[in-house]
Amino acid sequence: MSRFEYHQPESLQDAVALAARFGAEASFLAGGTDLLVQIERGRIAPRHVVGLHRVPGLAGIEVNGRITLGARVTHRSIERTPALAGALRCLVEGAEVIGGHQVRNVATVGGNLVNGSPAADLVPCLLALDGAVTLLGPAGERELPVERFLLGPNRTARRADELLTRVSLPALPPRAATAFLKAGRRRAMEISVACVAARLTLDASLERCLEARIALGAVAPTAVRAHEAERALEGQPVGPETFERAAAAARAACRPIDDVRASAAFRQHLVGVLVRRALARCVERARLAA
């Protein structure tokens, strides 16, 4: 006998109505690369699985000043969207290092967020881009900054009767650039030991930082912004001394754990190195584009 009943709603309204009806007994299915593993391992046992494949309007990428990524946008489509290859490149860099092609072809942005893994590679990118998620429930939509959406390992602010429909990112100002760097034990098919997404906006002289975002993955219970590191950068001349101060602040923002992949101390060390390199890359990119 099947462990769950499968539903294939054909509209957002029907999808949300199913979630409202079954509450915590229902799970939404997008790419399935996390959900089906969790079911198989017995970590979760939903009685109802609500497939989103037939729900229209969830798989689009819009770049029109503001950027919108539908919940069912795959890592593959992020990798292949030319409009994301410029200042938004951290998204592409975060997408292209997740799993193998087989996973990236189906795994989605929405799944990466909702799963709530502290090591999800796209999430620091969305934090660095000031992303906000839209949650649709029986009472309508609400928007929540990604930073407030993430509550802990495998825990988010999504209620059982809510569907994450999209992530929105504000337009980037001129002379802004982004970068994502990941350290793993090998170069492919690896869960991050630590990862960093950075965004810098330079002033007209291209020598000073106007605005900065630093987000860290796999070094705290959720992906986190390193606010102190951002403050160490804003208004300062870009260069090794400033970057070292930002790296030190980012190391201090970590609360890493020891596990099979790395020690906490090594993770903290890596964060400093990755922050420095990501910032240097942002400066290079912003100057090249200017």
């Binding site: 006998m1 769950f4 009943e5 499968y6 089906l36 193998g100 092609h101 072809n105």
Partner: protein, 176 residues
């Protein structure tokens, strides 16, 4: 939770099955339809032996519900050789051998097959990649195959075979 009647389009043919909602495409291919060319192993998207193409994209069939695969074009290793090549499933036309897919021929020519268990997945991942990137570098091929493990560790010959196949396919000497 009764079984569900599904229709899957596999290698250009319609197949019907009566399955539980939680059955994976991998399980249905092997256990219901007898298409055992697709292999089963980690069930965790780590090893890639279960790779099939869905609408032309490589996918781990171990993490894909059969009910969700309806209405999509599924390609398994059994469907890769042109019909009638002698590599088609039993019961179908068995005519001239030697007309297999260039990737299959290249794997044979380069001795890229050791125990063989990873090979269907390797070949399908390579096909999906070559369809999009006809003339890849060796580094690109290695990246394209990152989701397919060979525990005989025979990677070099596999990469050589894919490179050779891409040359032959690009030169148009063999129909792909």
């Amino acid at each position: 939770m009764a079984k569900i009647a599904i229709t899957l389009e596999i290698n250009g043919e319609s197949h019907e099955a009566l399955v539980e909602a939680d059955r994976t495409l991998l399980d249905v291919l092997r256990s219901e339809l007898g298409l055992t060319g697709t292999k089963t192993n980690c069930l965790d998207a780590e090893c890639g032996v279960c790779t099939v193409l869905i609408d032309g994209l490589a996918v781990n069939s171990c993490l894909y519900l059969a009910v969700a695969a309806q209405g999509r074009a599924i390609t398994t290793i059994e469907g890769l050789a042109p019909a009638g090549s002698g590599l088609a499933p039993a019961g179908e036309g068995r005519t001239p051998a030697g007309t297999m897919h260039p990737l299959q021929q290249a794997f044979i020519d380069h001795g890229a097959v050791q125990c063989g268990y990873c090979i269907p997945g390797m070949i399908l991942s390579a096909k999906a990649y070559l369809d999009e990137h006809p003339q890849p570098s060796e580094a690109q091929i290695r990246e394209a195959l990152a989701g397919n493990l060979c525990r005989c560790t025979g990677y070099q010959k596999i990469v050589d075979a894919v490179l050779a196949a891409s040359d032959r396919m690009a030169a148009g000497t063999v129909a792909s």
